[in-house]
């Protein structure tokens, strides 16, 4: 069976799709889709190839868009994607995740919604809002957003979410009850002696290692971390990296020891590539050591950043790695990060990159 790879790209002005054969040497870009609404996250169900795009429009509010023909036609719905009357209305959808039994959406202000009919109707997963810490959640720079949504492929009741800046929370019962899981992650912006609170950390991105659901990698505003117990405890893995600040993280599709980060030059220094030289950093040993991957990436004048959902890997062998910049450039590697090429530029600000491999 021949395969093709779709890169699903969320931008400030609609969704785009880049398509290639399994060789991943040349790419065809299509879009913008979704009536140029800001799209925060575009994902595909790996089983069906159905594409979902979550975002929100200043005029028309939040919605999840859906395409069953690889982007050629789209519908949208926000039926049920609302809080109770009188509460602060939802501004936008920020994250999507496809599970075996349901589709999930994380929104701003932070909350979780579930759809069992492919995004046609939505139900509020109210348990998260009932966590006793909820009155004390404070927004990060992008708002009070639920941006990381991690589902356990082996257990549909197990869900992790990352909320800026409330931290990581886990539910073991399908969303009915939740537990804060931030032990070991820092909050440098708190007064001395209060830097390891139970919640309130500024998590930027959480991803799961393949085949090992209890191994999570986290990029935080204040450090990079790994957990081997489903987030109950976190260990710093920032030693050897050029800074402790960045936004995205990506896991290898098969090797739980391999993951990718894109450290920036710090949170108060412009948030650019360190020394204006672009690099993706890779570990092959669970974060004990890191190497900079630069071949093919701009090594001068790279004053861009990469946002929290804008890096992904694909499932091919060897794995592809992709990231999009706030300046609208899209970079791809077909060999696990060794060699890079710019495959699109001058796009709107890229907010997310995901992949799906389908039969061609």
């Amino acid at each position: 069976m021949t395969k093709k790879v779709l890169l699903l790209i969320g931008t400030r002005k609609g969704a785009f799709i880049a398509e290639s054969d399994a060789g991943r040497r040349s790419w065809e870009l299509r879009g913008p889709f979704c009536e140029t609404w800001p799209m925060n996250h575009v994902v595909a169900d790996p089983m069906t190839g159905v594409i979902y795009a979550g975002g929100g429009n200043e005029w028309f509010g939040p919605a999840v868009w859906k395409s069953e023909d690889f982007g050629r036609s789209w519908t949208h719905s926000s039926n049920g994607l609302a809080y109770e009357a009188g509460e602060t209305p939802i501004k936008a959808v920020w994250s999507l995740a496809t599970g075996r039994e349901a589709l999930y959406a994380g929104v701003d202000p932070a909350g979780l919604f579930r759809s069992e009919d492919g995004g046609e109707t939505w139900t509020h997963v109210e348990g998260l809002q009932k966590h006793p810490s909820r009155p004390e959640w404070n927004p990060g720079g992008a708002g009070l957003i639920l941006h990381s949504l991690v589902l356990d492929p082996a257990d549909p009741d197990s869900i992790w979410v990352g909320i800026s800046a409330a931290g990581v929370f886990h539910s073991a019962d399908g969303g009915a009850t939740w537990e804060a899981r931030n032990r070991g992650t820092r909050a440098d912006y708190m007064p001395e002696g209060q830097n390891y609170p139970e919640f309130g950390q500024c998590v930027h991105c959480v991803v799961m290692a393949p085949g090992r659901p209890n191994r999570l990698y986290q990029q935080n505003h204040c450090g990079m971390y790994r957990s081997d117990d489903g987030g109950v405890t976190w260990q710093s893995i920032e030693k050897g990296l050029p800074s402790s600040f960045g936004f995205p993280a990506a896991a290898h599709p098969r090797d739980p020891e391999t993951s990718y980060l894109i450290p920036l030059n710090g949170d108060i220094s412009g948030r650019f590539m360190p020394n204006a030289r672009a690099a993706v950093w890779r570990t092959r040993d669970g974060g004990s050591t890191w190497e900079a991957l630069r071949r093919g990436l701009p090594q001068e004048g790279a004053y861009f950043n990469v946002l929290r959902q804008a890096m992904a890997t694909d499932r091919l062998e060897p794995a592809g790695v992709y990231f999009g910049t706030n300046s609208g450039a899209l970079f791809a590697s077909a060999d696990e990060g060794e060699e890079w090429a710019c495959i699109a530029q001058y796009l709107p600000t890229i907010t997310s990159v995901e992949t799906v491999v389908v039969a061609s």
Partner: protein, 103 residues
């Protein structure tokens, strides 16, 4: 006879429909939706109900869950910004307009 006249002026005054103008980037979201719509409604809330009945999902684009007309959507009735409670007399012209917004 123009389109407005054909929709409204053939009916007796008390039975005339409300005439609603919708912005193009709203109708683009609903296949088959029209820019000029004649419908029966006694208030802006009733107008939204009628639009929702014709094109399911349109309520969520015009109103948030407060419930209220969305912050960057303006509904003008008689030259003034309306709320969901604003009454609509038979034959009223309603303009749904998107505000200056975005970046």
């Amino acid at each position: 006879m123009d389109q407005r006249a054909s929709l409204i002026e053939t009916a007796p005054a008390a039975e005339r429909p409300v005439l609603v103008r919708l912005p193009p980037h709203l109708t683009a979201l609903f296949p088959g939706a029209e820019r000029l719509v004649a419908l029966d409604a006694a208030s802006v809330a009733g107008m939204v109900d009628a639009l929702e009945a014709r094109w399911p999902g349109m309520r969520d684009r015009l109103c948030d869950s407060t419930p209220a007309i969305r912050r960057h959507i303006n509904v003008f009735v008689g030259g003034r910004r309306a709320t969901l409670e604003t009454r609509l007399a038979p034959g009223t012209d309603v303009f749904v307009i998107t505000a200056i917004s975005g970046g």
